[in-house]
Symmetry: C2
Subunit: 370 residues, 2 copies
């Protein structure tokens, strides 16, 4: 279950509302990533303060530690994380893809060794759905197989067949009708396979659609090319989620093509390494740069996050220089706030039929960035 | 400057108020440690929420990085840290003590190698005061020499002579009358030297007195023994600060003898390693313990900190198991809140003439702890 209402469109871009058993979120939206049930460095009140409306957790990681039954006993994923709003979990498919060397794929599922203790694990589409239902998430993703972007047509097609088969099995496996279940499209960089993927998934009748297999090593132009034809192949009335993407630049590109939902580790990961996304002519800065040593400016004078309200660039640079954990915490907080503000501006610009201007301005900011 | 008013006494224990140019703090009080200008893992609003009224920073660390002039340019220590309440800085004496192997002590001062780049640094009593004035702290400490606790009487006396000489020079060196300057007593475990230390410092006329050279490796009973005779040797009307101490057990012992102020890294350091101080029969727990894996209880059901309001012991254990930084953050936040609540209870018990009962109950909690 889960209900998606489109409120306004501006070209292919649209804004809407998705409803779950734990409340609504507006689209386009960005989910901070809480892989192991924690958005790195932020307590749950700080996550809320960023403006986040939905968060993501990882099935694979929570399955291995602490285990879905433990999460359930600790108040399901909402009580566990203390996040009372919507929560989406990925299926573990991407992690299985990342474990390429140490996994064995069969029609039935995927066998691999735990990254923790080397134990043999066997994940099937049915088990992935069951784990996600036990966690108690609002939106579950089907288990998919993500092919490398440089695979041949024949191999990518073979992989897609498996993904589609798993999608059907996942759909049948759902027991809890209150939990949304999203299919995931694959097909690499092959238009024909992408189209088939979208069509066959649509027939199954999912509550929404993830676009998988992008931002996995292919050149960025290739990703934009797929978005240019593939997003519109998905049912217009359903929510569309571009998985694991991306920079603000990527996000406006995807929204332009009709994507509604995103997740990415960039705001927290980049934050931990000193990169802050900012307003103004430059899209980001590296706070470790010596030029900020005596700067009294906040990271971003247009931002109202705790970091920007209290701290100077000079102080933040100092924190990174001396290795204080508050530095990564503050840049993560700022970056997620920046992303949430960015999504709000996107929604506003769509509502006011000004998205094309917003898009053009954002592209300009990234012109000289490689 | 700085004004200390004693409001109520209960035996040797007393409660009072110390006023600075950045507001007051109640005594007995505990200062969270912000060595490099950050209380580890807590943003400044979270520090405030613990109930902290004054924080401590380290002269030695800020001198080397980012340098006191940079701190000044970034809004002095208050603008730099975004803490608008009272701030006390230590003098660097303890750090010089810790660098024992790579320092050279003379009558004039101490030469040592920076722990960062090996550069030769020379710290004098005058320079320490100047650095602290430049930082803009409310309370500065004099540079002292902290002898090892197993030194002979003759060597400890020689060291004390140097400390007293440096104290006089520090007093003369102060330029800013708005900044409080505290002397520091030494004398190791020798009653005669402790007494001389207290008397000679009192004659100089400091605004308050640090008790130094304790909790530096001596058996805990030896520290309690020194406290039993030494605290009362200090001027009754002045604030007394036991430096670098300690556990809740140590704190009640010191308050019983008339100590007013404390600082210690224990709440944050222990928190980073999974120890949480709690109410109830046991004084603390180790959250990594397997027995907490499925516990829905908060760390401390009597605590109202963000960690205890939102998170279960099971979730917190999970954070430590998987190495999420939120674990150390939350236990640090809880422990500092616990310490602040503890100090408030001490003040209340003194006000109500019930400190002896409070003391007895606390001692009982620690009976079976080594």
């Amino acid at each position: 279950m889960g209900r998606f209402r489109i409120i306004h469109s501006c070209g292919e871009a649209r804004c809407g509302v998705y409803s779950t058993g734990h409340g609504e979120f507006e689209t386009p939206n960005f989910m901070p990533v809480g892989t192991r049930g924690s958005v790195k460095g932020l307590d749950i009140e700080r996550v809320k303060e960023t403006g986040a409306q939905i968060i993501l957790v990882n099935t694979y990681h929570l399955w291995l530690r602490p285990g879905q039954q433990t999460v359930r006993k600790l108040g399901d994923i909402h009580g566990f994380t203390a996040w009372d709003g919507p929560i989406l979990s990925d299926s573990g498919g991407y992690q299985v893809f990342s474990l390429k060397g140490i996994r064995k794929l069969t029609r039935e599922g995927v066998e691999f060794q735990s990254h923790i203790d080397g134990a043999r694990c066997f994940l099937t589409p049915e088990l992935s759905v069951e784990i996600q239902e036990t966690l108690g998430v609002d939106i579950a993703m089907v288990l998919d197989e993500c092919p490398a972007s440089d695979l041949s047509f024949a191999d990518t097609e073979k992989s897609l067949n498996l993904t589609l088969d798993w999608a059907r099995r996942s759909y049948v496996a759902r027991r809890n009708p209150d939990m949304s279940l999203f299919g995931i499209t694959q097909g690499g960089l092959y238009p024909e396979l992408r189209k088939r993927s979208a069509e066959e998934l649509a027939e199954i009748g999912f509550d929404g659609f993830g676009i998988g297999g992008l931002s996995v090593g292919e050149p960025i132009e290739k990703m934009y090319e797929v978005l240019s034809y593939h997003v519109s192949e998905l049912p217009k009335a359903k929510i569309r989620y571009l998985m694991g993407v991306g920079t603000p630049r990527d996000i406006v590109e995807a929204v332009k093509n009709g994507v509604d939902l995103f997740d990415c580790v960039i705001p927290t990961r980049a934050g931990r390494f000193g990169r802050a996304y900012i307003s103004g002519p430059e899209p980001y800065l590296n706070i470790k740069n010596a030029c900020f040593a005596e700067s009294l400016e906040p990271l971003d004078s247009e931002c109202n996050c705790l970091c920007c309200r209290h701290y100077s660039r000079g102080y933040l640079r100092h924190l990174f220089q001396v290795g204080e954990m508050l530095g990564p915490q503050m840049l993560s907080l700022h970056n997620i706030t920046f992303y949430q503000d960015f999504m709000r501006k996107i929604r506003d610009s769509i509502s006011r039929n000004e998205f094309n201007d917003f898009y053009a301005a954002e592209i300009k900011r990234w012109e000289n960035i490689d």
